[in-house]
Symmetry: C2
Subunit: 301 residues, 2 copies
């Protein structure tokens, strides 16, 4: 936070399971200040949300009521106040759920997540990135791939979310690389790009071997001395390739845009390129703030 | 351990990563006593192995030299003394690796593991269960499925191990059910058998959807209130089904015997039965001791 307190016309909040970020915004949509905190929804009881938010944004408040627009797990059943899922097909944003506060200076509104009933699926937070993306690309017709802990594939048509699918590739990679027997083989952060592309192709051409492929990474390290950057790339490629095999209906013949952290976008772009697909890359964080801004504008209109 | 110390003609040891078990044996192959310990190879430095073993088996030793036959991770590179892998195709047991000791009352021999070079793979410990199985079924021609943390599929022909494949299904289940977002949906130990069989069939018929299927377990819990025994069975069925899809060349049209813990054998037998395959069930622990006994007999012959 800057030394001199910034005044906020309204406050944007991205409140996830592990972290939160809050931005002091002007009415015109300019960012004046930002704070981050590790007080994610996962560790808070219901009555702790308001004090946590106040401790972060108090310097931004005036004497009147300041609107707060929040997205993410803060609206889950175990969050501050449940913002019930809206059902696809639908627009990314609908009515905001108001959230009662003790402090009269706060006027908190939470964006609901989305659910899909046909093949059960849910999202909370990504719908706001999608709203941000559509604010910039209102005529986009195609698929958003949003890589992360739980990667979302989202079919967009006529400014609506038609359907989506979640694959927990990021969580699988984290578990296998940090907590499984493979951790001995994939240590470090170095990464062999050619091994990654080979592993993606192998996974897509023989998806039935997905889980059997994992232990080979360990055995190849033990028997052939395969080095960690190659093993790490093989694990990543096996999992992202398995994800592409599972989500083929989402990307085959589609216009694709990646929305995520730049390092993840780069990997998915390389994997898609190995299948002859070009994907535009967009940074997810920026789009969250754009989506919150779009929701604020609708709130005051 | 019994209150009155038992004298051992020789000592059998199954020394894995997390635990060890030692048996006091007679020359005729009868078990007189058993001890277990959590001093697995994973937490020991090289010089700690002998004191740990002595602390457990000292009461069984006489004044002369007592042979000790050990299998498992004790023979890994990071173990007590490396017993280099033998290469398949080969018999389950070959020459034992002697292991020097300070105490003249111990004469320790370690059974080597097996490796496969064509598709890289390794085993340490299972080769001794296989030796035990073949001691009882010398004419077996078919496939052993050995469910566990790292399930092994082993093709046996003419008393030799022709090839094998490891799938880390047990470790994946443990990670996903205890440490992933799915832990909220699969708590407890209750298990819905019908949901398991359905999930196995789905995984075998659409193996390309393996990793995408996982998050559906969470979404179905959130949206449809699916109960934990069904969710747990779906996770288990998705992973065992994916394993069967990957190992089809090992079981299609083969005679199959399961070698593992009874609860795991039961699950794999049900999964194989859903594919029209009947599998005999054998308890892995018993076969380890039989395999160690077979190795001892060869040592003294």
């Amino acid at each position: 936070m800057s030394a001199q307190a910034a005044y906020a016309d309204w406050i944007a909040v991205d409140w996830g399971t592990s972290n939160l970020r809050a931005w002091a915004m002007t009415a015109a949509g300019e960012m004046r200040d930002m704070v981050t905190s590790d007080k994610g929804m996962g560790n808070l009881s219901r009555e702790e949300f308001e004090p946590v938010l106040l401790s972060l944004v108090d310097p931004w408040l005036g004497s009147g009521e300041t609107p707060v627009v929040a997205c993410g797990m803060v609206g889950a059943r175990q969050g501050w106040a449940e913002a019930p899922y809206r059902t696809v097909p639908t627009t990314p944003h609908g009515a905001l759920s108001p959230c009662a506060t003790q402090d009269p200076r706060l006027s908190v509104h939470i964006l609901p997540g989305l659910k899909q009933t046909k093949t059960p699926d849910v999202m909370r937070g990504e719908e706001t990135q999608i709203a941000g993306f559509l604010a910039d690309h209102p005529d986009f017709d195609g698929v958003l791939c949003m890589p992360g802990t739980h990667t979302k594939w989202v079919h967009i048509s006529a400014r609506e979310i038609a359907s989506f699918q979640t694959v927990m590739t990021g969580e699988l990679f984290a578990l296998l690389s940090k907590s499984s027997v493979l951790r001995h083989s994939v240590a470090g952060l170095d990464f062999d790009d050619a091994a990654f592309t080979d592993a993606v192709s192998d996974a897509i051409s023989r998806p039935e071997a997905t889980t059997a492929r994992l232990f080979q990474i360990r055995a190849s390290h033990l028997l052939e001395g395969t080095e960690a950057p190659v093993s790490r790339a093989r694990l990543s490629g096996a999992l992202i390739g398995a994800e592409l095999a599972a989500t083929r209906p989402y990307w085959l013949g589609q216009q694709i845009a990646l929305v995520g952290a730049p390092a993840l976008n780069r990997l998915y772009a390389a994997a898609l390129a190995s299948q002859g697909l070009e994907a535009a890359q967009h940074t997810g964080d920026d789009l969250t703030l754009k989506g919150l801004t779009a929701a604020y504008k609708e709130l005051i209109s």
